[in-house]
């Protein structure tokens, strides 16, 4: 028989074990988000392909044709943009979804118990599936340009995880704050819109002057995007290691911050949501 002791002001001792007990809930919430995502739409799942693809076309025209920015080595510009579009849309959609997850499910929060961290993490699955679908476009673009990737592409899963963690940290933090202060609801679309232009999505991070690259890498997505390009474009896009490490540290820092804040505020969610 399981024994629970609920005491005022005490942190849950078996929190992480509880998380494992609720794994089925995690899966079913992820499945729910996935299956309702494109309900009552005509082209359904195609939206996951169309959005990054059209953005890529526009970026290629603006940055390559009009602004005449250089590509990474000899890589086709469109391919270089798409290699960054993929992690960027993974990051932006998981950040958006996870930071709204708690207030979108306010009803569940106030009526049943489960480790609340399940809610924002489950939304990452939806973003990941969208990512995998749009990944197929990348393959088509590579075939079109007859560009074959090197062994580096095998390291891609590492950077996918990094992109997810980069969004989970701030996502957890903001979703917890969102419960109390709905102001943060308006912050996220702004951050995402802004981030698209300050991250090296439409251009290569090599256009940034050498002395600024360390500071530029404080944006964790710089590391993620450079990593993606390195995996996909191979030798055409060598990675700038010090900057990458800075990004990695920032990701880890935000993840720690997010989890710590989330755990601290978690117990009051039901009272104030």
């Amino acid at each position: 028989m399981s024994k629970i002791v609920i005491e005022a002001g005490q942190t849950e001792k078996n929190y992480w074990a509880d998380l494992w007990r609720y794994r089925e809930l995690f899966l079913i919430l992820a499945w729910r988000d996935l299956s309702v995502r494109y309900k009552q739409t005509i082209i359904g799942i195609l939206w996951a392909i169309l959005r990054p693809f059209l953005t890529m076309v526009v970026f290629t025209i603006i940055f390559s044709r009009i602004a005449k920015l250089p590509s990474d080595g000899n890589a086709p510009y469109a391919l270089m943009v798409f290699a960054a579009m993929l992690p960027w849309s993974l990051f932006s959609s998981s950040l958006t979804e996870s930071s709204n997850s708690l207030i979108d499910n306010a009803n569940l929060i106030s009526k049943v118990y489960f480790p609340r961290i399940i809610m924002p993490t489950a939304t990452l699955i939806t973003a990941l599936v969208d990512f995998l679908i749009s990944f197929s476009i990348l393959i088509f673009i590579m075939i079109y340009y007859q560009f074959s990737p090197g062994w580096n592409i095998l390291l891609l899963p590492f950077f996918i995880v990094m992109a997810l963690l980069a969004s989970l940290g701030p996502g957890l933090w903001i979703t917890a704050l969102n419960v109390k202060y709905r102001d943060f609801r308006y912050v996220i679309p702004f951050v995402v819109q802004f981030g698209l232009y300050i991250s090296p999505v439409g251009f290569t991070s090599k256009v940034i002057p050498e002395q600024w690259r360390m500071i530029y890498s404080l944006n964790p997505m710089v590391g993620v995007i450079d990593g993606f390009r390195w995996c996909i474009l191979g030798a055409e896009s060598p990675i700038y290691l010090p900057g990458f490490l800075v990004s990695l540290i920032i990701v880890a820092f935000f993840l720690w911050l997010g989890i710590a804040h989330f755990r601290k505020m978690e117990k009051t969610f039901a009272d104030i949501i």
Binding site: S2, K3, I6, E7, E24, K39, V112
Partner: protein, 432 residues
């Protein structure tokens, strides 16, 4: 002792609420600025410290629960009763770990499932089949448990042919049936239920009640929060009555309910000035209503066949000839069941200017168990109502053996019957 499954020790729950202080009629702009500046300053401080932001300019701490102590044994079915705001729901929320207590400690032995609402987490876009899995998992069932009970759930909800239709296309009845069906097939060791029976049509309610009874008989421990005394009476063996966050009475359910019924409180003086009035209002105005039982104790709960005494305060501003005053008892759905009228009983008089208190005695209430609405009116006989208030309060009737024949009135009340009329039955012919 080992058979104690829930042990609550000194539980308290504190909420901080904000008030908007009353604005004086002349407020200087400077005051408004000062007030808002203080509020913004306070909110910013809260934000930085990670405290919740509270609206309003003055703060007050409210203890929704304080020093609550009790024990529940294995297999006990406990009814938790009390007025609105007595802390019943907060208590269940603490036991189900949705919110944490501000003080004290709870020890729970066993797997807990809570039903604070029917259909938690239902998604309108998903089909009935998908929602069974979703809702079941949210309530704490495993996938294999749901699978093995799937057919039972569908049969109980009576929705076989709509299983693959999104629930947003369901009628509200079907929706509620499905939701209850999932919940009814939970098999935890401890079940916490909050007023979920107040759903569905009368027939389905009966079915739910039957299921609940079966669950209670299986030896599961159940905590049941309800306003419906007859349901509590029918389901539970012991009861806990909460009053403003404290345990007022604890013991066998009969004692607790009768205490609740007798409970003396100021709520019994119903100030009608705050309610919506209708009528021409040229002569008189209803001021208050008070309800008492035969011992002259204020109450709003009566057992069938007992006596009710109602007092009505009327303020008359112009002399009223051939005056009539009355009380209306209507069903929960708003259908009038009884009119209790002064002129019908021969009270014919004129009403002089001034304040008056009327008292009417209803010797035997023959309503079936359930909740009923009370309204009142005054008028000149034969004229339209001069003042009337439709929904003043509710009274609750609980079943009792009015004629000594052991009738199960509760059961018939669930299927929609409201009034009892005594009758005599004999067999006049038998043919073999």
């Amino acid at each position: 002792m080992s058979d104690i499954v829930i042990k609550a020790e000194n539980i308290g729950k504190k909420y901080t609420i904000g008030h908007e202080s009353q604005r004086e009629s002349y407020t200087a702009l400077r005051d408004v600025f000062a007030k808002n500046a203080t509020a913004i300053w306070r909110k910013t401080k809260d934000l930085l410290r990670g405290n919740p932001v509270i609206q309003g300019d003055t703060l007050e701490e409210v203890w929704a629960l304080k020093d609550v102590n009790f024990e529940v044994r294995q297999g006990e079915v406990v009814g938790i009763i009390g007025r609105n705001g007595a802390g019943k729901s907060t208590l269940l929320k603490i036991f189900s770990r949705i919110t944490e207590p501000s003080s004290g400690r709870v020890t729970i032995n066993g797997r807990v499932a809570s039903l604070l609402e029917v259909g938690t987490g239902f998604h309108p876009e998903l089909t009935g089949r998908e929602n069974i899995y979703l809702n079941g998992t949210i309530l704490g069932m495993t996938r294999s448990e749901i699978k093995s009970k799937f057919n039972e759930i569908v049969a109980f909800a009576e929705i076989e042919q709509y299983l693959d239709t999104p629930v947003k296309r369901y009628s509200s009845g079907m929706y509620v049936r499905l939701a209850f069906a999932v919940a009814a097939h939970l098999e935890p060791e401890i079940l916490l239920i909050d007023e979920v029976l107040a759903v569905g049509d009368a027939v389905f309610q009966k079915k739910c009640l039957g299921k609940m009874n079966a669950v209670a008989k299986e030896g599961r421990t159940v905590l049941f929060v309800s306003h419906n005394m007859s349901t509590v009476m029918g389901l539970c063996e012991s009861g806990i009555m909460l009053d403003s966050g404290r345990v007022a009475v604890i013991g066998p359910v009969k004692d607790v309910i009768s205490q609740y019924t007798m409970d003396v409180s100021s709520e019994n003086f119903l100030d009608l000035d705050k309610l919506l009035h209708g009528g021409t209002g040229a002569f008189a105005r209803l001021k208050f209503m008070s309800i008492f039982n035969e011992q002259n104790k204020p109450t709003s709960t009566f057992s069938m066949g007992s006596t009710a005494i109602i007092q009505l305060g009327v303020s008359c501003i112009r002399r009223m000839e051939n005056f009539e005053i009355g009380v209306k008892i209507s069903s929960w759905a708003g259908v009038a069941i009884h009119y209790i009228v002064s002129t019908w009983e021969g009270m014919r008089c004129d009403l002089e200017v001034g304040d008056h208190v009327f008292e009417v005695e209803i010797p035997r209430i023959m309503l079936l168990p359930g909740k009923y609405l009370l309204g009142a009116w005054v008028m000149k006989e034969g004229n339209p109502a001069d003042d009337h208030v439709q929904e003043i309060t509710t009274i609750e009737i609980v079943g009792s053996d009015v004629n000594g024949c052991g009738a199960d009135f509760e059961r018939y009340a669930y299927s929609g019957c409201e009034v009892y009329t005594p009758s005599h039955w004999t067999i006049v012919k038998t043919t073999n």
